[in-house]
């Protein structure tokens, strides 16, 4: 019998609120289908199911706020008979969410020591003890969840108001979450920065040619070239396409680029474009557009949050010339692009105006060094000078 | 009524008489000094004076050897002095100094001296009796020809521990000498108000313990009776009891307003002051007395000086001697 449980949708998410079921008992589901919509402090997220079969029973009501890992539904997988099953030990009704936030954080002395040891922020841990007291196992679970589901977008601390927060509250919660995550990243990961100013003249001429052959809706943005170049450069320097968890580097043979998207009204998400290195420029453009649309509509999927192996952030037209971004843990690097600007450039002994962009790589010095980062930037530069290869 | 001891005859052993007087004077002056020092605040806690009872401690100790064992009560200054504990160590003890016989740990009520087999000094009435029983038991089991002399008062004889100790000492025929100092009052309670049977001879008979009743104001009578009893005990006669009729001229302790006795009664007993009686009865001349007094005064002065010169135990040693250090 398969189970659909409250997924961890961020490294520090410890609870989620079920907003709405998209499937009912008796419905057939396939792996990857959206089965529910879940609210975390960052966003409302459509959640996919990983089992294939028939929905047997829904265990949790909409509106319930439950810890990560709580079974939400039972899926009768293919080949199984419909056996009436007693509800799993986890209570059908959600464990009581505190009506209001407890006035102070209750944590056992031993759990506190352990949290310090593991680098777990207690503000993001839900306590399973009496009065919400955090115990060792809660800290251990939070650390494990962080390891299991790497994400650049940590959840905010338990909201002051219940699940159905107003947009303002969500905004505030998201800001808090970002603030905490960024602070932690800077605190724990020793950032080093390299930057390279890249001559985009060849790339932009290529783009112009490509766009001349496309309709307006199909036009490629320069950012897409940058994304593809990053993806391909990562193939050459795969150490930067990794995550750092529990003191170990976990490499990935797939390249999922997290794309930083600034939301209207403030806030930031960085969902993944999966296998960016395998997409052609049009596919990449489509994926990028789709992500932006869904991000702004709050319709991102759980896997999009948890899968990026590296993030790319671009300040776009309105930004500064170079960016020195902060890494999204547990990733080990982040690439930042400034505004494409015209600058005097030396070319064959002459000073000419040239479109350039400054690419910056921030690396986690626990995991990588300037040598590798430098190699990446050199590769990036080369790719952008050979845009046909993108 | 009681069998009175024979009046002691005048003895030609003058020195011995003078020594007995000296012994009593030492106690008397020590107690008077202690009272003074207490009121000055140099001695604190409880202070129970032996004034009027000196003949018992002095006379009884004459009957004991240095190997016999002694158990006393909280009113133990006289017994300790008569037993030979240095005056300075007793004064220092009351000052709470480390050169006190109990290192300042016990105070007035808890004088101890292992080298002189002086086993305290008990604040619980009758509390020392079972311990005395055990000392006698050990001597019996080890075949030692020793006597344990246990002093106690009229309050003790109505405590359960007295009853149990009398019974067991008699049952096992232990070399325990019960020395009953009956000064007629247990703190503020007269014996008539506390003992259903006032005649200790009869009571002792109930246990099978031979008893004798003696005038406690007559040091020679005390000595003779105690000697008799010691010999009987030492020769395997089992426990014996000697009751000394006595009186304390001062209140129970320095804190006692003494409302339960009449001035007339006290005066009547003062006419039988053991020291005066002895001086008169032995015809000790005034110059001898004066000489003894000045010796006592000198010893006392030195004792006070010893006490004042003594050190207080350092606080770091507070927990010392709760347990015996292991090798």
């Amino acid at each position: 019998m398969g189970q659909f449980v409250m997924p961890a949708l961020g490294a520090d998410m410890s609870t989620g609120t079920l907003i709405e079921w998209r499937k009912a008992p008796g419905d057939t589901v396939s792996r990857g289908d959206i089965i529910a919509e879940v609210h975390t402090d960052k966003a409302d997220i459509e959640v996919e199911v990983f089992a294939t079969g028939v929905v047997e029973e829904l265990l949790v009501e909409p509106g319930a706020k439950v810890p990560v890992g709580t079974p939400l539904a039972v899926i009768r997988e293919e080949g199984e008979a419909a056996i009436p099953v007693a509800p799993p030990p986890a209570p059908a009704e959600a464990p009581p969410a505190p009506a209001e936030r407890p006035p102070r954080l209750l944590v056992s002395p031993s759990a506190k020591s352990l949290a310090d040891e593991l680098g777990v922020d207690l503000a993001f841990v839900r306590g399973s003890g009496p009065n919400g007291r955090i115990q060792r196992r809660d800290v251990e679970a939070a650390a494990a969840a962080r390891a299991r589901a790497p994400s650049p977008a940590p959840a905010a601390p338990p909201p002051a108001a219940p699940a159905a927060a107003e947009a303002e509250d969500r905004q505030a919660a998201m800001r808090r979450a970002i603030a905490a995550a960024m602070a932690r990243s800077k605190r724990e990961a020793p950032h080093f920065y390299l930057s390279e100013t890249i001559d985009l003249s060849v790339a932009l001429r290529f783009l112009a040619d490509e766009n001349a052959r496309r309709s307006v809706q199909e036009r490629l943005l320069p950012g897409v070239l940058l994304l593809k170049a990053v993806a391909l450069a990562l193939r050459e320097v795969p150490e930067l396409n990794a995550t750092w968890q529990d003191g170990k580097v976990i490499g990935s043979d797939r390249i999922h680029l997290g794309v930083a998207i600034f939301l209207r009204g403030g806030g930031l998400v960085a969902p993944a474009i999966h296998d960016a290195d395998a997409l052609n420029l049009d596919e990449l453009m489509l994926a990028f557009r789709d992500l932006v649309t869904r991000a702004r509509a709050g319709q991102l999927r759980s896997s999009e949050f948890s899968d990026p192996t590296i993030t790319v952030t671009s300040l776009g037209e309105r930004g500064a010339e170079s960016a020195f971004p902060i890494i999204f843990p547990p990733q080990v690097a982040i690439v930042g692009f400034g505004r494409i600007v015209e600058r005097p450039w030396v070319s064959e002994g002459q000073i000419l105006p040239c479109p350039v962009v400054t690419a910056t790589l921030a690396g986690d010095h626990r995991v990588t060094d300037g040598h590798r980062a430098g190699a990446f930037l050199i590769a990036l530069d080369r790719r952008l000078k050979e845009p046909e290869s993108l | 009524m009681s069998t009175r001891a024979k009046k002691p005859e005048r003895t030609s052993d003058r020195q011995r008489m003078v020594a007995l007087l000296h012994g009593m004077l030492r106690i008397r002056r020590f107690e008077e000094k202690a009272a003074e020092l207490y009121s000055l605040g140099n001695i604190r806690g409880f202070l129970h004076l032996y004034i009027g009872e000196e003949a018992i401690a002095v006379g009884a100790m004459q009957a004991l050897t240095g190997e016999d064992r002694v158990v006393a009560t909280y009113r133990d200054h006289g017994h300790a002095l008569a037993r030979g504990l240095p005056m300075g160590s007793l004064m220092a003890e009351m000052y709470g100094k480390t050169n006190g016989c109990s290192r300042g740990r016990g105070g007035s009520m808890h004088f101890f001296d292992a080298s002189r087999l002086f086993y305290g000094g008990y604040a619980i009435v009758a509390g020392g009796l079972p311990v005395a029983l055990g000392l006698a038991l050990a001597d019996a089991m080890q075949g030692n020809p020793l006597v344990t002399a246990c002093f106690f008062g009229d309050g003790a004889v109505v405590e359960g521990e007295f009853h149990e100790t009398m019974n067991l000492a008699a049952l096992w025929k232990l070399p325990l000498l019960f020395l009953y100092e009956n000064n007629l009052y247990a703190m503020g309670t007269a014996i008539e108000r506390s003992q259903a049977q006032l005649d200790m001879e009869i009571r002792a008979q109930g246990y099978g313990v031979p008893a004798e009743i003696v005038d406690g104001m007559d040091v020679l009578a005390v000595e003779t009776a105690t000697q008799r009893a010691v010999e009987a005990v030492r020769s395997g006669g089992g426990p014996h009891l000697v009751e000394f009729k006595t009186y304390r001229y001062r209140a129970h302790s320095m804190a006692d307003p003494d409302l339960y006795r009449t001035k007339a009664e006290i005066e009547e007993w003062r006419r039988r002051d053991p020291i005066d009686l002895f001086i008169a009865g032995q015809e000790i001349d005034a110059s001898t007395v004066a000489e003894l007094e000045s010796r006592v005064a000198a010893e006392l002065e030195e004792a006070v000086a010893d006490a004042e010169a003594g050190e207080f135990e350092p606080l770091e040693d507070l927990e010392r001697d709760v347990y015996t250090p292991l090798p």
């Binding site: 002395p109 031993s110 | 006190g100 079972p130 055990g134 100790t165 019974n167």
Partner: protein, 320 residues
């Protein structure tokens, strides 16, 4: 295999044989063979000088033990039960415990007192006390609680070797328990880990040890592995052993047959809070006797004292 009572007897026998200063004194220890049959046969073996029947005079014979110890003997005083020892508390607290200290270190009192404790045999409220904590409270004495056959034998010897007063508390329900007599002599005044486990520390002593071990077995079937510590010595308490265990398990439960309020469990819990605060993932818990004078009716008595069932239920809540 030997019984607990035989082991105590064996310990005393060895002591009587090995040191002529040792003697046993108490009510019915001789002709009767001991109220709990512990000293059966010792009178015949060692004679009435070494095995002394005392009259019902607790104060006198405990005090006599003190005096005899002062004068060079090594008495083992048997007080029939801790209930009767109340009659001798003056001698114990005011004399035995204090003589060394108040004399400025001039005397040691090498006295051993054994007494029976505990409920479970429907003997009602004047025969069922578990007042070990009163003794554990008093500086100047030591207190031991044998729970195994080996301890029944060796603690008598440990106590006799100690120059200070040692009180041994034998829980009546243990006398018939069987175990191995021969074995290594355990270190005196130290606790022993009777069962290892990582989920919760169960600290206990005396008669409660076996109930606690039963509880541990049942908890194991639920996947909860308890570490059981037999305290063995109540004064001094081997808190290092308890803390070492709590450092591993982060949870402490104390099983103590004394009444809950101001119990030995309270002392242990407090010490863990003082010295091991950061080790704790849960507040220290205790299973003690319910605060009633012990009733006669079996179901009431069983409910009043610690049981494996109560321990299991309480531990479940701690790890829930």
């Amino acid at each position: 295999m030997t019984t607990f009572r035989e082991a105590v007897r064996q310990g005393m026998r060895e002591a009587l044989e090995g040191d002529e200063r040792v003697f046993l004194m108490g009510e019915d220890v001789g002709r009767y063979g001991g109220a709990f049959a512990v000293s059966m046969g010792l009178l015949e073996e060692f004679g009435p000088e070494r095995v002394r029947d005392a009259p019902l005079s607790e104060s006198a014979f405990v005090g006599a033990g003190i005096g005899a110890a002062l004068a060079g003997m090594r008495p083992i005083v048997e007080v029939m039960t801790i209930n009767f020892s109340l009659l001798a508390l003056d001698q114990i607290v005011n004399n035995a415990a204090a003589l060394r200290y108040m004399s400025g270190g001039q005397f040691s009192v090498p006295l051993v007192v054994r007494m029976t404790v505990g409920a479970g045999r429907q003997l009602a409220c004047q025969h069922a006390h578990s007042l070990e904590v009163w003794y554990a409270h008093v500086p100047g004495i030591k207190a031991l609680a044998p729970a195994t056959v080996a301890d029944a034998r060796f603690m008598v010897l440990d106590a006799l070797e100690d120059p200070d007063p040692v009180f041994i508390f034998e829980n009546a329900i243990l006398y018939g328990r069987e175990g191995e007599l021969d074995g290594d002599r355990p270190a005196p005044y130290r606790a022993a880990v009777r069962r290892t486990g990582g989920d919760v520390t169960l600290a206990t002593y005396g008669g409660s040890l076996w109930k606690t071990l039963d509880a541990a077995e049942e908890l194991a079937t639920e996947g909860i592995e308890a570490e059981v510590i037999d305290l063995r010595s109540l004064r001094p308490l081997d808190m290092d052993a308890v803390l070492e265990s709590v450092a591993k398990t982060h949870r402490l439960m104390i099983v103590d047959e004394g009444w809950r309020t101001a119990s030995l469990a309270a002392e242990i819990g407090m010490q863990v809070a003082e010295r091991g605060f950061d080790l704790l993932d849960w507040p220290p818990q205790r299973v003690c006797s319910v605060e009633v004078p012990m009733p006669y009716a079996k179901h009431l008595e069983d409910a009043a004292i610690p049981s494996a069932t109560r321990v299991v239920a309480a531990v479940r809540e701690m790890v829930a």
